[in-house]
């Protein structure tokens, strides 16, 4: 669970240079991260000093010390990151941005593909800042308690007693000497929402660990919806206005002059009793925008659900691979993109991604689905039981997503290397290149393709081998046998296969 995540946050455990260059491989990614980190550092330092030297908080600091600033600075960073965290997972919004930036160079658009990586990075920052924020507030709660008990100096005791008399405002949220820090937390809005959202955050984090995500995706996916609880609690977390600063009184109360005359407050003309009020809750201003955007995203996914998807053809291929050729109104794709499929007959809530294997020149889009887990097995068994030529189970399609691999058309010689399941986008690319070649599309500069395919064995991808053979045949027929050269590397070859072949295989 921890080694990978620790390396990210506490990069000093590994040689810094190698970690940095391994995790953030390309220049624009590094620039994004540096900018993000710079904003975080700026917010932390700015709000730290706001509360550390701000005049409004002289008396608050007298009781709490620097723990006040140590609690408020992470709070600002948390506001910023909670705003950011919803945005990378709005895949339709990202597709929209990607489409609008067609002019601006592929490097920028490619950054949008790293959305999940950024989401995780922001989540780590939220976790780290939550730790600092909570520890600082633990200290604050304890100091407020001790101050209320009279364990500190006279000024603190007097400050804590403010608000005991009617019509006066209080500074210390602990209003009675019998309230413990635990009671304070569980009877105040800030404390209660804080505990609830921290619990939600912890459950989200433990179920997002790689082990759980890779093997038991549903646990991760359903637990992750606790983010609704998280954001609800977050918005109300500041409603109690528990962090209090001095407000103006008439005549004004200047802490510098009046600190030492606490006994005379209210009696001395220059030093009236100071008044305090909590700050206006600000978190909602940070997160309301992304929350609305995310709701729109989910609504869009829902409406996409309702669009009819028709089956053009269903083919069951060897090695339990299902090819679905589908059509949907207004569907436009580029090479190398993927879609999410949902089949209500199997599961209402599950959306599974599949790379498209058809070319944009075709009037349908296709996916090849291999039987790997629950969902795919059920889909294949439903389809196998259908009568010939009938429509398949109702499907919903979301997408397409992903940065298209269009660069390949710009080069005269293309070398494509695919390994295992990574060969799937090449089906789309190779088909598209072939179509463009046949139509003499001027955008296509490719004259020669070298294709290298590595896999353990061809069983899992026999459908792709079939595609290659079809392309090879078509090229031979047109006298263009040299256009595509492909080489297969079977890494699962071992001595036993050599024995069965008896020397007659390569």
């Amino acid at each position: 669970m921890f080694p990978g995540s620790w390396c990210l946050i506490l990069g000093t455990f590994l040689p810094y240079q190698t970690w940095w260059s391994r995790v953030f491989k390309c220049q624009s990614e590094r620039i994004n991260i540096v900018v993000w980190m710079a904003i975080n550092i700026f917010l932390f330092v700015w709000f730290y000093f706001l509360y550390d030297v701000g005049e409004r908080f002289v008396y608050t600091r007298h009781i709490l010390g620097s723990a006040l600033s140590w609690a408020r600075a992470p709070a600002a960073v948390l506001n910023f990151n909670c705003m950011l965290i919803l945005l990378p997972v709005c895949r339709n919004l990202l597709s929209l941005i990607r489409g609008s930036f067609m002019c601006c160079g592929r490097t920028i658009r490619k950054q949008l593909d790293k959305n999940l990586k950024f989401h995780k990075l922001v989540a780590y920052m939220i976790a780290l800042m939550t730790v600092v924020h909570i520890i600082a507030h633990l200290v604050n709660a304890e100091r407020y308690y001790d101050s209320r008990q009279g364990d500190y100096d006279e000024l603190s005791t007097i400050l804590s007693k403010l608000g005991d008399t009617p019509n006066s405002s209080y500074l210390n949220p602990i209003r009675s000497t019998s309230t413990t820090p635990t009671l304070l937390v569980f009877t105040s809005i800030a404390g209660l929402t804080g505990v609830v959202i921290t619990l939600a955050l912890i459950l989200m984090i433990t179920s997002s660990m790689e082990v759980i995500r890779r093997s038991y995706f549903e646990v991760f996916w359903f637990t992750h919806h606790l983010f609704i609880v998280f954001f609800a609690g977050l918005v109300f977390h500041g409603a109690g206005r528990i962090v209090r600063g001095q407000i103006a009184t008439d005549p004004p109360h200047d802490p510098e002059d009046c600190e030492d005359k606490a006994d005379d407050w209210g009696v001395d003309v220059d030093c009236p009793i100071p008044e305090f009020a909590g700050g206006f809750p600000q978190t909602w201003m940070w997160v309301i925008g992304p929350m609305i955007i995310y709701v729109c995203e989910r609504l869009l996914r829902f409406f996409r659900c309702l669009q009819t998807v028709r089956y053009r053809k269903i083919v069951i291929r060897p090695s339990k691979v299902l090819e679905l050729q589908l059509m949907r109104n207004g569907f436009k794709m580029d090479v190398g993109q993927y879609i999410f499929l949902n089949c209500p007959a199997i599961s209402q809530l599950e959306w599974h991604p599949f790379t498209m294997t058809s070319a944009p020149e075709e009037d349908f889009f296709s996916v090849h689905i291999r039987s790997v887990g629950d969902w795919t097995q059920k889909l294949i068994s439903i389809v196998e039981q259908l009568p010939e030529g009938s429509q398949g189970p109702k499907l919903s399609v979301d997408g397409p997503f992903g940065t298209a691999s269009e660069d390949v058309f710009d080069y005269e010689v293309a070398m494509l290397v695919g390994a295992g399941i990574g060969v799937t986008p090449f089906a789309s690319i190779l088909k598209s290149i072939w179509y463009k070649f046949k139509e003499s599309n001027p955008k296509l500069h490719t004259r020669k393709i070298y294709f290298y395919w590595l896999c353990r064995e061809t069983h899992a991808f026999e459908w792709f081998a079939d595609l290659l053979q079809v392309l090879e045949r078509e090229m031979e027929e047109r006298g263009l046998g040299d256009f595509l050269t492909y080489k297969l590397f079977l890494t699962g070859w071992d001595q036993s296969q050599g024995d069965t072949c008896n020397g007659s295989c390569r």
Binding site: E142, V219, D482
Partner: protein, 185 residues
């Protein structure tokens, strides 16, 4: 959802809770909070829970991924036999350990998280899961490698005879290599 091994998630949750309990305890002791003795207990309890939960168990299906350096912990935990194998024991143990954490604020979060981990372990135990150590695979399990693999090939791969392969001076066009891309300056 039917194929989930709850113990895997319970393990992550319990390890996280151990760390949270430990951190809360350290804060309580270092700050000398009221009733800091509970915080001191939480430090010890947190360390214990982390040591117990650090070695990941073996999965029933699929490959198990070890945590870094977990082998010595695996050996320790394995030595307790049925006490650590059985998830009912773990569930009740965690439930019992977490209770003193509820008494002071600094350790309340660790207490609740450990309580949740205890509940997930209970679910795992009810489903019949148990902890298996991940031990290194034994060498003898591998098939004996044929001797012929260790020697480099004695013969070159089959090719047409050298006379046909050799480029002849009188047949320059046939010998020339054709560049697929025209070379331009």
């Amino acid at each position: 959802m039917g194929k989930i091994e709850w113990a895997m998630w319970a393990n992550e949750q319990a390890l996280a809770s151990g760390l949270i309990l430990l951190t809360g305890g350290i804060v309580g002791v270092a700050g000398q909070f009221r009733d800091w003795q509970f915080a001191a207990y939480a430090v010890a309890a947190g360390v214990f829970v982390c040591l117990l939960e650090y070695p990941r168990g073996k999965r029933n299906k699929g490959t198990s991924v070890e945590r870094t350096g977990q082998y010595c912990f695996t050996v320790c935990v394995k030595s307790f036999g049925p006490l650590t194998r059985n998830y009912y024991v773990r569930a009740f143990l965690h439930a019992a350990i977490c209770v003193p954490g509820a008494f002071i604020l600094a350790t309340v979060l660790g207490c609740v998280c450990l309580g949740i981990a205890s509940l997930i372990y209970l679910a795992a135990a009810i489903r019949g899961e148990h902890w298996e150590p991940i031990l290194p695979r034994e060498e003898s399990a591998r098939k004996p490698v044929a001797e012929s693999i260790k020697r480099p090939p004695q013969n070159p791969p089959p090719r047409p005879p050298a006379e046909i392969r050799r480029k002849r001076a009188e047949d320059l066009e046939g010998a020339a290599y054709v560049n697929p891309i025209p070379i331009t300056e």
